[in-house]
Symmetry: C2
Subunit: 377 residues, 2 copies
């Protein structure tokens, strides 16, 4: 059964497209990058900074939130938006990916996945139905089906088994989502590892079930970028053109540009905040390691032309000092600088696609990165 | 020789007083609380938040900054204000206190103190002259003399020896400060442990040397609050009335009110940020431990009447969740909440002293703290 469509493509340039996704808590401009608020918070950032950086939507991790503080508790407190004070759209993952990467003693069965909490060892079962129930309790704008994601490289048989299981879970997820409040969305997840045939089969089967949007899962799990981009290229033509396409867990700025060029509309990744905590800055000059001694005496900002106050307002010498000293402010500033850079990159892509100049934007951007950082003084 | 006076007492109520201290980077309203930016940064706070919270002046730690990134480097980068972007007044300590508490293999001699850096083991000598030189390189508005601080309880002989040494270092500090740019200030530090006679002798001798202001050092080093307040009471009458009086390293909100009532004008302490990092909030209801399970389901803010956005805008349940999850945002929000509460307390005292209602303000404030937090729901 077809579900109502809340996505409108408003511009195309080659395979790249820009659009508007209307969610209960607001409109998301695509291509969109969703910063990740794992446990109901962005590491090192205040919510107002996420908004100021230009993010329309953020991602919350179901696995973490169901363990602590608990989905029922968040529901009683008015949902994730009221709980966190982030009043814009929010997408929640199904919890499946973190179960695979964090939980102990996990067992995948037809009915669902059983595991023990990494926090206190409690035995928990996550089924497609429970994953949807949890996400409805959280009140997220966009829920994801439970799927099984296989780390690459993997045996073909394992990839196919996980893909088929994910499809059966997709059907159960959709049934469980019936009766959700109007405007809330459910996305299916394409699996199939690095096998184009499995990917296409997964995409077509999901389209047959019918979702508000479609994600490509199981990439950025260890394979080279070229493999990832090839899989995207093989998969996108089998995805409905009128629905948002979401590439899960990706990636570097270069990944984003490459994936948008191949028709992807949405992304999420911890990279801007995680790398920020490790002293790395993303700018139009590429990735910059503030820990490097070359910055110790450099009074210049990271990028004096940036619209983000911290990117143009703090010297490299100060950021270097904060990183070297392990001061929280260093992680805070670099996380903000990176989230803002990611958002400005998305905004640049959206504008270029609308103008029909995406290819020029892409070349200019890649050229800036490959030229590298300012020469040392 | 008398130094120019940049302090004006504009109101008195009993021993309490309110005034204005004019520093090169701005005017400090007293009684003033200085948040501590140990290594050139406030832990968990952006500089704009310090300003928004109402702080006129902050403290930087000379010991940390001389080791990393180095005073000469900060001078080359335009001084501490330009380096950090904090453009208001800044006081720096002499480095002596941290040498005593952090450095290794320290030896106090007449000439100065030798020690090894806790970061890389480098052998360093800090003399009264070098302490002043470092602070002038940093460009702080207010420099402190090098002193020797003895942890209490201590033998009378040790206390007296350290006090006399601190006086000789005070004279050398003052000589070293000659030629400092106009408007920059040097404070002497009264020592003498818990001996009122030594405290008075130290205060009188320092007044004879002549400083821009006078600090009481060597308190809040392990003695009960009653001992501290008694020493303040014994010491203040020997301090010049027209100069600012600074109680170093103090303290709890209750300490601040008690000390202001005894004529103190300035304070610094890491408590608001350190306790914030440990899940503690200071409010008009006293100190609140957000880690406590009673907050887990409580949708109420810490204080709905607070003028600080985070104090009234986040639920206790959310703050509890952040603290329990170890999310940086919890430390960030609580540090801001606490710094803002300290500043609102100072503002309340300043206004009450000016109005002649300090005693009522004090009683009302203590009553609020002793009534304790809101009843659990």
């Amino acid at each position: 059964m077809s579900l109502p469509n809340h996505f409108e493509v408003v511009g195309r340039d080659g395979e790249a497209r820009t659009g508007l996704l209307t969610a209960p808590h607001g409109v998301v401009r695509t291509p969109a990058f969703m910063p990740v608020g794992t446990q109901g918070a962005m590491k090192g950032l205040q919510w107002c900074e996420i908004r100021d950086a230009g993010a329309d939507i953020v991602l919350g991790n179901t696995y973490h939130l169901m363990l602590r503080p608990g989905a029922e508790r968040i529901a009683e407190l008015g949902g994730l938006q009221r709980f966190t004070t982030w009043d814009g759209p929010m997408l929640t993952d199904s919890g499946g990916f973190q179960v695979m990467s964090l939980a102990q003693l996990r067992k995948v069965k037809e009915h669902g996945v059983t595991f023990r909490s990494h926090i206190d060892g409690t035995a928990i079962e996550l089924t497609p139905e429970r994953a949807i129930e949890v996400q409805r309790l959280l009140g997220s704008d966009i829920a994801m089906q439970l799927d099984e994601c296989v780390r690459l490289p993997a045996e073909h048989g394992d990839i196919e088994r996980a893909m088929q299981l994910s499809l059966r879970w997709a059907e159960r997820s959709k049934r469980a989502f019936e009766g959700a409040p109007a405007g809330h969305m459910l996305f299916g997840i394409i699996q199939g590892g690095d096998d184009p045939e499995l990917r296409r089969a997964s995409a077509r089967a999901l389209a047959g079930i019918g979702f508000h949007g479609y994600a490509i899962g199981g990439l950025a799990v260890g394979e080279p970028q070229a493999v990832m981009l090839a899989i995207i290229e093989e998969t996108v033509p089998s995805m409905p053109t009128d629905r948002p396409r979401y590439l899960m867990g990706v990636g570097t700025p270069d990944d984003l540009v490459g994936a948008v060029a191949r028709g992807i509309d949405m992304f999420d990744c911890v990279m801007p905040t995680r790398n920020g905590r490790h002293g790395m800055a993303f700018t139009r000059f590429g990735q910059i390691n503030l820990r490097n001694a070359r910055h110790a005496d450099d009074p210049r900002p990271l990028d004096e032309e940036s619209s983000w106050p911290a990117t143009r307002g703090y010297s490299r010498a100060y950021l270097h000092h904060l990183v070297r000293s392990g001061e929280t402010l260093g992680a805070m500033l670099l996380s903000g600088i990176n989230v803002a850079y990611y958002q400005s990159l998305m905004q640049g892509m959206r504008a270029a696609i609308a103008d029909g100049t995406f290819q020029q934007f892409r070349e200019r951007t890649l050229e800036g990165w490959s030229r590298g950082d300012l020469a040392a003084r």
